[in-house]
Symmetry: C2
Subunit: 217 residues, 2 copies
């Protein structure tokens, strides 16, 4: 309903309400990454923020809306911490490697205290139905596509073998990344992420057409 004409003051500063809303969602992603999206309750979130339950509720109007916005907020963090950094690497094999490393780094730095937000959410809602299931399914599909497109560009450039099955390559890499996340959170040892990195390197090494600088022989 509001027009874009803001008058002589130009674009308004982000309001207090908007900043509070964003702060609530940041806390919500932290809680949900450990307790699950179902473990995120209005009361727990309100306690963590030091406000009343209805003070939180008023921002969303329903628990489902809070959950959906929390998932979307986590998606923005994933983009900022994984997708955008990887885009700084050259398209092709470099970017494919960068995507894998950016993901493992995002896990290792505990951007979310419970590890990858979407790895946890995937397992929580995969067997259910509803809007959150659908949101997660689309996010997972997009992540698979991102890996596969980077692999396709690497193949187009002749950096990986022409007969490489890109779907399988992406699947194998994605499996190593997700298992790396689960094991890191489960065992709490940095060593398991090193194992994931070596597994990724091994899979890429098997399809690479030219040895990387520094390889022996």
């Amino acid at each position: 309903m509001a027009t874009h004409a803001g008058g002589s003051l130009g674009r308004r500063r982000r309001s207090d309400g908007e900043r509070t809303h964003a702060a609530i969602l940041e806390r919500a992603t932290q809680i949900a990454s450990v307790e699950g999206i179902d473990g995120l309750t209005l009361g727990r979130l309100a306690d963590a923020l030091g406000v009343s339950k209805s003070g939180v509720y008023a921002h969303f109007g329903s628990k489902q809306q809070l959950q959906l916005e929390t998932v979307q907020a986590a998606g923005a963090v994933f983009e900022r911490e994984v997708l955008i950094p990887a885009r700084r690497s050259a398209a092709g094999l470099s970017r494919l490697e960068a995507l894998c490393e950016a993901y493992l780094s995002y896990v290792e730095r505990l951007v979310f205290p419970g590890g990858c937000f979407f790895a946890g959410l995937l397992a929580e809602v995969d067997a259910r139905t509803g809007p959150i299931h659908d949101l997660v399914r689309e996010g997972e599909r997009q992540w698979s596509r991102t890996l596969q497109e980077a692999a396709a560009e690497a193949q187009h450039r002749g950096e990986i073998a022409g007969d490489t099955d890109l779907e399988l390559l992406g699947f194998q890499l994605q499996g190593c990344l997700e298992l790396g996340n689960y094991h890191f959170v489960l065992y709490r040892e940095a060593r398991v992420l090193e194992r994931a990195r070596l597994a990724v390197t091994g899979i890429l090494g098997a399809v690479r057409t030219a040895p990387a600088r520094g390889d022996s022989a």
Copy 2:
């Protein structure tokens, strides 16, 4: 306290109470595989069984005991459906292949309605602490070890290359299996399990020393 001397009647038949207990746990594993171990509540379980809440409660004495026994009951199913069938295959590469196929078949047949019980549980409790976390961690460690031991025997027999890193091979296979499970439950398409099978075959093909019967060239 009871002795093993059962008198002239020999070993007693399994009592009604024991059969009821087992029936409760079977239902509990089904509910927990979809709703999570935290989504398994006494009230929901009682409703599904058509008994009163305290009728269920009396069998376990606490919710934690119910949860622990449910996880153990699911472990017995995993052993029956995955580990024991795979042991019918010859030790070495055949058994490693059989372990992967038995796992994917167990997922595909929906032995648990929510897919692999432990894949879901892993993601649910990896970031928490307590006896269930510990139980899952030991189970996951054992599953990794089982895959790795089969790979070691394959290497010992000369079926896979002598310089294969067994830990990485096991990790890559385990990643494909778990991602196959998550995607099958998420997308509900049989095709994604075919992808997982091909991903496993591709990984094993890269380290195999002799071509399998039927391979071209």
